[in-house]
Amino acid sequence: MIIRPYGDTTGDGMVQLSFTLPIPHDKRAEGAALQLAGNMGMDPAMVVHARQMGDGYTFFVVYGRVHHLVDTDKVQVMERDFPLLSAKEINEVIKRRLRRRLTVVGACIGTDAHTVGIDAILNVKGIAGEKGLEYYRELSVTNMGAQVSVPDLVETARAQKADAVLVSQVVTQRDAHLLNTRAMSAAFREAMPAGQRPLLIVGGPRFDELMAAELGVDRIFGRGTTPREVASYLVHALITAKEPAA
């Protein structure tokens, strides 16, 4: 389906844009703002607000119509390619098919100290009304907390014979989350042969879920993930997908 942005009439293509340019405010600056809006495909574009900040910067608000079409059939997304199971079902599958508890090690690595996200996934408390992984009878969870170094993580994963390693990254300034994730996956590749390597999962509010391969991990979870999604994925990736039920 082909669609366009909607202001107040179907197909009007209206959008709002704001940005700062590193120049003082004058007519030319507004022209420069319109040039940028034009490059972005806005036509007509109106500078509806311009305000100089300090002596070398100007903030602009621009409204206008974009002519780009959006083709919803060409959209690339990380669809959920596994069934969403209930806690009960998850425990059962593990019990019946794995015949031992599934071991998970979680941590917030690097110098990132944001634990709320990983805790929401791991701790019993959970989030959005869903209990965290610790609550699942058949899951054995180790939450290493925040500011965990990659070597410590690898060690613990090895010691615990982790089936899966869950890593959180919230700070994204200067691509910290990407650097840390790459370092982590590299360390695991180095430390363990393909066969024994645990499933590598990262999550955080600013990840692009399509980058898993690029970052050398098995899966990425983004904004608003819930524990049940993660648990369902674990069961899928580690059990049902591997050897389809007899």
Partner: protein, 533 residues
């Protein structure tokens, strides 16, 4: 939804100035004096209105008498008929008698058919000579218009029934949203979406041109500029669409339009016939902001308010507009004066206090020190002067800019002022006020804003006790209003309007659009509708 918290319901009432004495400690004698002066200033204009009629008043009578539809050029039959009558006998006698006399003479029973014949030049009109003929014509006219009024009465009971069934909004203020696409078929889904998102009242604003049209367009329309034409069919379509959502939401969603411009009386009539619930209807807006002749306006005004009274419609007045052309601090007292005049005219026309959505607005320059507290002083003054009126609280517009982030902030403080001062109807402000007519997303962001404020601070009025600054300012505005009213009583309201007292717009009584549509009532003037109201 947040706004249904019972506390905030109570809140609305509580802040309604019901507290003995109120929070401002206004001197009851000064308040009484202000009302007295407003009555004296308004009476001459009422006399003027009682002694004149207008083309639109007479066309409204014809509509109530059953004339419907339009000719092939879209000119309503009421216009064609009225013009024919006027050509033959003038306006002064009223149309009722000549028309129903002709109807009998022509042996017709359908007034619309008569209109069509008249338009074809096939009918001549006269004021009958014999007393008997006059009486007969009057009786016939009265019978016909009674049917029209009966329909309005039915609509009113219908509304009362639906409100009993679906219920009123849980909270005060009622949340009032504007749609303005210009196309009734885009308006409808947007209005329904707005209602689902929490709007209690939907207003369809009109195309820029309509107020100067001396006829009411017919049918469903799709080509308005910055608003949608007010037509009987558009009214019907939108009311039906809102009845649908009212049912779905279990909350009666009200519909508003504008009884304003040259066809004010007819539009008021159509609103009554299609069960609109509120109408913008100001005694001076048309004069000041549409350059419509003052006398024309005051005559149309009175008739339309009599209809609104009968139809159980809540009117909204337009004092907010003055503050877009005049300064909100300097002109604060003109708002108060206008509210007092609107109240007087409304009562005189038979409207009850619960029907008076007196307007005012959050238009003080936000850069002014203590601007927010000044807003509170002004808003609370209105609240305590008119404790039983569902005041209409209008958002910032004049000082809104293209800085939409700042815009959303100002709207939040406007909402807060509304709940702190117990306003009755809150017109939801849009962050894009200075940019475009509201987008779908603007309305959604604005409603989130209202919901946050009502839910999080809706009861803050319990903790709001005006200090000397706010009390002082409110009393000062009241004093200035009294002074101005005294001057108006001396010079006369029409001269005050001519001098630019309101909104700095100078509008002499002998100028402006639509004056030619006004006529002095002859001694035998007869209007079956006003008789009945």
């Amino acid at each position: 939804m947040a706004t249904t918290s019972p506390r905030s319901r109570a809140g609305g009432k509580l802040a309604g100035g019901k507290l003995a004495g109120g929070k401002l400690g206004l001197d009851p004698r000064v308040v009484r004096r202000a009302r007295g002066l407003a009555a004296r200033a308004g009476q001459p204009v009422v006399d003027l209105a009682r002694s004149h009629t207008t083309v639109s008043v007479e066309r409204a009578v014809l509509r109530l008498a059953g004339v419907t539809g339009a000719d092939s050029d879209g000119i309503p039959w009421v216009n064609r008929l009225l013009d024919a009558v006027r050509a033959d006998v003038g306006l002064g006698h009223g149309v009722a008698v000549p028309v129903f006399h002709a109807l009998r003479r022509e042996g017709l029973d359908d007034v619309t058919v008569l209109a069509q014949k008249a338009a074809a030049g096939a009918v001549r009109f006269a004021v009958p000579q014999q007393k008997a003929e006059v009486t007969a014509a009057r009786r016939a006219a009265a019978r016909a218009t009674r049917r029209g009024l009966a329909l309005i009465d039915r609509r009113r009971t219908e509304r009362e029934r639906l409100i009993r069934r679906y219920g009123d909004p849980a909270q005060r203020p009622w949340i009032y949203l504007i749609v303005a696409t210009g196309d009734i078929h885009e308006d409808i889904p947007q209005a329904q979406a707005a209602a689902r998102a929490g709007a209690d009242v939907i207003a369809v604003i009109r195309s820029t041109g309509q107020s100067l049209l001396d006829y009411v367009p017919e049918g469903a329309t799709r080509e308005g500029f910055a608003g949608t034409y007010a037509t009987q069919e558009n009214f019907r379509l939108m009311r039906a669409a809102l009845d649908e959502v009212s049912k779905e939401l279990g909350r009666y969603v009200r519909l508003t339009n504008y009884a304003s411009g040259l066809c004010m009386p007819e539009i008021a009539t159509l609103a009554g016939l299609q069960r609109l619930d509120m109408m913008l209807n100001d005694s001076m807006y048309g004069i000041l902001f549409r350059d419509i002749n003052p006398i024309r306006t005051f005559v149309d005004q009175r008739f339309s308010r009599q209809i609104h009274a009968r139809a159980g419609i809540i009117i909204n007045t337009g004092e907010d507009n003055y503050l877009t052309t005049a300064d909100a601090v300097e002109a604060a007292h003109t708002v108060t004066v206008s509210q007092l005049l609107n109240e007087f005219f409304a009562h005189e026309a038979g409207l009850a206090d619960w029907q008076l959505g007196l307007g005012h607005a959050f238009e003080i320059n936000p850069d002014l020190p203590d601007s927010f507290r000044l807003e509170l002083a002004h808003a609370l003054l209105a609240r305590e002067l008119f404790p039983d009126a569902p005041l209409k609280w209008m958002p910032p517009t004049k000082h809104m800019t293209g800085d939409v982030f700042r815009g959303n902030l100002l709207d939040g403080f406007f909402n807060l002022a509304g709940v702190l001062t117990g306003q009755g109807i809150l017109l939801v402000g849009m962050m894009t006020e200075a940019v475009v007519t509201p987008w779908l997303s603007d309305r959604d962001i604005a409603l989130q804003n209202v919901r946050y404020v009502l839910n999080g601070a809706g009861n803050l009025h319990e903790d709001f006790l005006p200090g000397p600054f706010i009390r002082g300012r409110a009393n000062q505005v009241l004093t200035e209003a009294v002074d101005l009213l005294e001057r108006i009583v001396d010079d006369g309201l029409l001269n005050a309007i001519a001098d630019g007292t309101f909104g700095i717009m100078k509008r002499p009584a002998d100028r402006g659009k639509g004056l030619d549509g006004v006529a002095r009532q002859a001694d035998d003037y007869y209007n079956p509708v006003t008789e009945a109201l």
